[in-house]
């Protein structure tokens, strides 16, 4: 911990940039990491994995009852049907929101997140306010996100304490009967797949 005590105080981003650069050059010079592999990792998370993956899963579940049944029974296998597999999505469970049950996902101990379907987590998901409050005051948290749930709705919070990763299947909004799967996917937001929001109906003017 010596290193932390000496360098952990009042780090500014520019200091961190220098420090990470120094660490990278040390590891590259020692042959411990390949800089091209580092580029590939960054590129993957910037361009290849993100909430559009999860949105396609949700849109397919809304459009195809057989797929939805498979998704709720074995999330990992059904999500893999669409090609979404890999790190932090190895063991997937899908939670269905209904008019009676609202699911909300958190990781109170660190910041576990279903990266294969949602990409890297947003800062608020990793923050102390969310991690501390989601389990004790989920309704208050949802209110801050603009979602006031009726008393009669059961709120189920899922604390990601293991390697199981949770994806919320939001309710399909009204007025979307004529939309294609692609159009449905456009409506699905990251926050809705965490359970922090509902999917809003399409804005007026959207035509199938």
């Amino acid at each position: 911990m010596k290193d932390l005590h000496h360098h952990g105080h009042q780090e500014l981003p520019s200091d961190m940039a220098l420090r990470v650069k120094a660490l990278e050059s040390l590891l590259v010079e020692k042959g411990l990491v390949d800089p091209a592999a580092l580029d590939a990792i960054v590129d993957t998370y910037e361009h290849k994995v993100g909430p559009r993956n999860g949105a396609r899963v949700v849109a397919k579940a809304w459009s195809d009852p057989g797929y939805k049944a498979r998704l709720l029974k074995d999330g990992t296998a059904a999500i893999a049907e669409l090609g979404y597999t890999g790190r932090q999505g190895e063991h997937m469970v899908v939670l269905e929101n209904t008019p009676r049950v609202h699911n909300l996902v958190v990781c109170t101990l660190c910041s576990c997140y279903p990266i294969s379907v949602l990409g890297l987590p947003p800062v608020w998901y990793k923050s102390a306010p969310y991690r501390s409050r989601a389990v004790i005051d989920p309704r208050g948290v949802l209110r801050e996100f603009g979602l006031e749930l009726p008393q009669g709705v059961e709120v189920r919070v899922w604390d990601s304490t293991s390697e199981i990763r949770y994806l919320v299947l939001p309710e399909r909004p009204p007025g979307t009967d004529s939309l294609s799967e692609e159009q449905l996917a456009e409506l699905v937001t990251r926050d809705a797949m965490i359970g922090a929001a509902k999917v809003a109906p399409p804005a007026k003017g959207v035509r199938p």
């Binding site: 005590h5 590891l27 020692k30 990491v33 592999a37 101990l109 948290v141 709120v155 604390d159 390697e163």
Partner: protein
């Protein structure tokens, strides 16, 4: 360990502040920090539980002050030094000790898609382990306070819940984090009523579900 990382149920951290159109990384170094952790992890000198624990070991006041990727870098440096991949002097000087032989990185560009997008890392184990519980059983989370790594949060300890699903046999983080073996055992989804955890003012129908290993549970 009863560290500040175990945040469930704490008060006083303020409002949640979502950011509009948030970038994947807020600075270039954040992406490099993530990539370094994953690429160095390919040496298999540690595991995911050990890397989580390396961040839990950051002293509380610093843990709360640091950003997410600052914690990753702090934890990574400790892991690199503890496992002998680098020395603390090398970290301080930013260059290899004189006479160091150059190694061959285990993670190549060609392997990145497999790690991130295909195979990932499997945490289930195909071993015989008798489940101590089945869906519907009432259990109580043990009132334990280990000084090492655990995935049993404080807010659930001592409380009663119901097994709703057996996920199968998974690596046990409490031993794996300390390189004391994987001790694969059944992992369950356990439902705790909000009132059991937070008292009579919590809504009667609400609940918190946790994934808990056999070793965390007693019959209730």
């Amino acid at each position: 360990m009863n560290g500040v990382h175990d945040m469930g149920g704490m008060h006083g951290f303020g409002p949640i502040e979502p950011e509009r159109d948030e970038p994947v990384f807020h600075a270039r170094w954040e992406g490099r920090a993530l990539a370094l952790q994953l690429a160095a992890g390919a040496w298999r000198k540690w595991n995911i539980d050990a890397s989580r624990h390396s961040r839990e070991l950051i002293p509380g006041p610093e843990y709360l002050r640091m950003t997410y990727y600052e914690k990753w870098i702090a934890g990574l440096i400790e892991l690199l030094v503890q496992t002998g991949l680098v020395t603390r002097t090398e970290v301080e000087k930013g260059r290899p000790a004189p006479g160091t032989t150059k190694a061959v990185p285990p993670l190549t560009t060609a392997q990145v898609p497999d790690l991130l997008l295909s195979r990932g890392v499997q945490y289930t184990r195909d071993v015989q382990a008798t489940p101590r519980y089945k869906a519907g059983d009432r259990v109580r989370a043990r009132n334990i306070h280990p000084t090492g790594h655990t995935r049993l949060p404080r807010y659930a300890r001592g409380h009663a819940g119901v097994i709703r699903h057996d996920h199968g046999v998974f690596v046990f983080p409490d031993t794996n984090a300390h390189f004391l073996g994987e001790q694969p055992q059944h992992l369950y989804s356990v439902r705790f009523e909000a009132r059991e955890l937070w008292g009579e003012t919590a809504p009667a129908q609400d609940a918190v579900h946790l994934d808990l290993w056999d070793s965390y549970l007693d019959p209730a």
